[in-house]
């Protein structure tokens, strides 16, 4: 569905990517085609249709859409692979008893500990989703795993350093970002512990790895997670590219004049743009018309919930979970950031 609503491409573009989904469905029923064969067919078809495709993609709008789309995907893939490797390692080599010992028994205490542990994962948000999924599967309290999921992309050393570099004249921005992100992550963890129901979480249908060697289980997990999360990453990248290429920046100028509206505008922008958390500080710094608090909101909301993340969470934890989790995170993140901004900035 995203294929059709994203772009106004020529008919050639629409027919080329369309075969997979339909064909896969057919394959499921009448297993006539195997997936490698199908892949070869699609590639051949695309090579044959190359010149009409090029024509359809020649307009500047489509070109910049494609560039941003490919850029987001290419940029996020290494981090996704890192996260997938880490999560596979957790799933296969770390015994569940380790987490039982490492985390405090009381969930209320485990939440802030897990949130702080997020500071160790040196990556952006694409890496944290598979890792959090592996943690849940490994028997960690969901509340703690969610706190980790939210805090890891925002408070790790790389991101904080980038923030310090981007705001040379406002060093308190780094502290504010750290505190606000941690606050929101813990609040979300506690909220989940209070209200969350396990049946909202649909843990990914990983077959138990009995009978398989450790090596096989490891690579199976890597393959499955990459294909799965990668697909959702592509979906998110398409949405982000559409916004980057199609929404005029002048809208922001009108929003910047009113304090309340500016906070909301930057929060929504953070969700829509889906910028990697290692780079968003620079983008925030360039939004010169906005107040520091509004920029803080941008920095806190962005790593916690955006289109790309929403798609990946829906894939990892199930759609029902993502639909409830995302709005709550958004509201809490905006609130926490405004509060911190009012106190610190």
């Amino acid at each position: 569905m995203a294929i059709t609503e994203d772009a106004p491409p020529g008919p050639a573009e629409r027919t080329a990517p369309a075969p997979p989904s339909g064909a896969v469905a057919r394959e499921r029923e009448g297993r006539g085609l195997s997936s490698p064969l199908l892949l070869t067919l699609v590639l051949l078809l695309a090579v044959l249709a190359q010149s009409p495709l090029r024509g359809a993609l020649g307009t500047p709008l489509m070109q910049s859409w494609m560039t941003v789309f490919v850029a987001v995907t290419v940029q996020a893939l290494p981090f996704l692979v890192l996260g997938v490797l880490l999560s596979a390692a957790i799933a296969v080599f770390v015994p569940p008893s380790f987490f039982a010992r490492a985390l405090p028994n009381r969930p209320a205490l485990a939440v802030p500990v897990a949130g702080l542990a997020g500071a160790v994962l040196p990556g952006c948000e694409c890496a944290s989703v598979p890792v959090a999924g592996a943690l849940v599967r490994r028997g960690v309290t969901p509340a703690a795993a969610l706190a980790f999921l939210l805090s890891a992309p925002a408070i790790n050393p790389i991101v904080l350093t980038a923030t310090a570099v981007a705001f040379p004249r406002d060093p308190e921005m780094v502290l504010a970002r750290f505190l606000a992100s941690l606050l929101v992550a813990c609040a979300m963890g506690w909220l989940w512990q209070r209200l969350g129901r396990t049946d909202w979480l649909r843990p990914p249908a990983h077959g138990a790895h009995e009978g398989a060697t450790r090596g096989e289980a490891f690579w199976n997990s890597v393959r499955h997670d990459t294909m799965h999360a990668g697909g959702f990453l592509v979906l998110g990248a398409m949405a982000a590219a559409t916004l980057k290429a199609a929404v005029p920046a002048t809208w922001l100028r009108t929003a910047a004049d009113q304090p309340l509206l500016s906070v909301l505008a930057l929060a929504v922008l953070a969700v829509l743009l889906s910028i990697c958390s290692e780079a968003d500080a620079f983008v925030a710094a360039s939004l010169t018309q906005f107040s520091l608090t509004a920029k803080l909101v941008f920095l806190v909301v962005g790593p916690m919930i955006d289109l790309k993340l929403f798609a990946m969470q829906a894939g990892t934890f199930g759609r029902g979970f993502a639909l409830r989790f995302a709005p709550a995170t958004f509201a809490l993140a905006v609130g926490g950031a405004v509060l911190t901004g009012a106190v610190l900035l």
Binding site: V24, T67, V68, A71, V74, F232
Partner: protein, 237 residues
Amino acid sequence: MFLLGAALLHAGTTGLYLRYVKAGLQPLLLASGVVLIAAAAATAWYERRAAKAAGAAEPATAEAQAHSHPEPRISWLLLLPLLSLILVAPPALGSYSALRAGTALQKPYGYGRLPGANPAPLSVVDYASRAAYDHGRSLHGRPVRVTGFLALDHSGAPYLVRMALNCCAADAQPVKIALTGTLPPVLRPDAWLEVTGTYTPKLTHDPVNNGPIPYLKVTSARPVPTPHDPYDETWNN
């Protein structure tokens, strides 16, 4: 999956990746490409072994088939970036994106010494910040040479632009210099130009975000090929 890894390796080794992400990501790209290929190889190897085992014990075939669960359907979406990377290889961001975003010029800490050559080679960002925030004092009236691509706004006014990039093309922001003086008669957007000129105190403001856009009085301009790395990564780093 093998294809994806191979495509990443290809993009990483040929420099194609510079159109999309910053240079610092190259080792990460290569490493993840290797990991993906390794995973594909491991999958193939284990499936082969399973098939062999199934061949030895005939009734196990059905069980083996059930065990190799198919890829989730969503993973077919991974084909899209793959196809566009292999077949189309979209170009780096150009004038279209540059005109839609406001100039990202920021006041620098200080100004380094001018390069010794005459005219002094400067980046777009360097000239723009010296001209906009230092009123050209650190230029000492010397001619400068700047390389960037052309963008024409709706009234046809020419700008020399370089996109500055922090992580990937999604966060690229333009830095613009407006051009006056003697220009080539035909101006084509997205064409790369090497412009020689002198400082002029004229300054305008970007209609998009009100950022400063300094002018450069052009004395000569010549077309150049697209540089190896089309983005400017020197600032912010």
